[in-house]
Symmetry: C2
Subunit: 285 residues, 2 copies
């Protein structure tokens, strides 16, 4: 967002001045003359958007104990009125495909999906690349040391960041066998789940030491497949930090320097729900 | 979005230079030193977000021929594992509550919901206030003249704008009688629908003369209640201009100077679906 101060000029944000910089100022200034929204429009037009969402369909991966997503055809064709018309119905679990967990999912009395503040769902993002670790070990738990290593390279994770954990597992989607570690269904599948997750201690550290807004991951659960206590969910959701699961395309992100916009369906009393999540990259990326 | 050029400094966008302007540059520059995402973070933190979405629940208004939205409780309580767990299932029409119409909804062979480019769903917005006209006439059709009047005051609607039509009808939500003009259900309700909409000629003008990205409205349909040919839907959707319906809180927007971010659930083959839509206002508003 560009900041529009009260006297009608635009805020300049810069700490180096060079020749092209002045040229850009002039070009942008010319654009300004067309109206206030002109610059915002240019900002969006010049930014690259990356969709971090798997599309919902018959092959959408859901938790082994859940029923599959269903799109039920209602109508598709010409009508007596002379126009074409098509529509469907949806039947689905809150927690399948690319979705959000609201605090109440694992925290009694916690925020329901409609109560999660939208301010927690948009903001600067970082990507933590643990693809190598997870390629070696399907049961990998992302540690505090993984975040400290990221910080040694990039500086401290700012407060109110949205942290995206890239395990590389979205490349297996939609193969249940490869993504979840099993293509069994029902309760007997749960002990056979093998995919990486976030260590509960690392989750608590992100909340306590870095005051993050939200966490996302490209696996079916922020707790690893072998978890049976879901302590990472509890560590995050009990502190009103929402969780994004089954993300896609994280490999297309830089390590930092992007915004995340994660807008879930708004469900009164929802414990979670389908999420559309995108990243906004500045033109230099 | 702030633009980060390749040499690591930040793009200055301004056409007036004054003392406080330089001070702001220095302050922002100091912020830069903390890391690239610092400024984006500040931008989000300083912007005001407005949720333009009605929440889905038992009282969600759907088209009279559709079934109501249902949230089906699966589980809510302590588990044998010692943790709290709650989850639900959803059953719903694609076109109820705050939702998007994808081009295929009224245009054979048109884009399905997963095919709508996300670039059409984010961008600078304008609000066209027709609340007075619609208070006088429930069957009001928004005309080209309404847009020309807006332009006389604010300048031409830039290309690739997202146009939001504020009829004031969201104040009636969730009363079906007041919002739709009838609380009848089923096919016999359709002739009794009375709410305002966008004139097909105005829709065609917005597409042809202003190359808009998308249109939204705070009624149940972009065609007015008395329509039986849905020509406005056809005018927009046949040109791949998606439509947002049942919007909320448009009264809280300025006439211009804001961004719209409209992220629908991503449904393979969907003709539309639930939409979470927010506006981003710069701090001066």
């Amino acid at each position: 967002m560009l900041k529009e101060p009260t006297n009608g000029s635009w805020v300049c944000v810069g700490h180096q001045v060079s020749g092209w910089f002045v040229v850009l100022c002039l070009l942008a200034g010319a654009g300004c003359a067309a109206g206030h929204s002109r610059l915002d429009r240019l900002a969006w037009e010049q930014s690259r958007l990356i969709d971090l969402t798997h599309s919902f369909g018959a092959d959408t991966i859901v938790w082994p104990t859940e029923q599959d997503f269903r799109l039920v055809l209602q109508q598709a064709g010409e009508t007596p009125g002379g126009y074409y018309y098509a529509s469907n119905r949806l039947e689905m679990a809150e927690h399948g495909g690319t979705h959000i967990d609201a605090p109440i999912h694992f925290s009694r009395g916690g925020q329901t999906l409609d109560q999660v503040p939208i301010e927690h769902l948009v903001g600067a993002g970082v990507r933590i690349d643990v693809t190598a670790q997870c390629a070696r070990d399907r049961d990998y738990l992302v540690t505090i040391q993984d975040f400290e290593q990221w910080e040694a390279e990039h500086g401290q994770i700012p407060t109110r960041t949205i942290v995206l954990v890239d395990t590389g597992f979205s490349r297996y989607w939609p193969s249940r066998q490869q993504y979840l570690g099993t293509d069994l269904r029902g309760p007997e599948a749960v002990p056979a789940l093998h995919f990486p997750g976030l260590h509960p201690e690392a989750a608590a550290w992100l909340v306590r030491e870095r005051q993050i807004k939200a966490v996302g991951i490209d696996t079916a659960s922020i707790d690893y497949g072998q978890s049976n206590k879901f302590e990472t969910h509890v560590a995050l959701l009990s502190q009103n930090v929402p969780v994004f699961e089954n993300l896609s395309n994280l490999r297309d992100l830089p390590d930092k320097g992007f915004d995340v916009i994660a807008l879930p369906m708004k469900i009164t009393g929802g414990t979670g729900g389908p999420l559309r999540v995108i990243a906004v990259l500045s033109p230099s990326h």
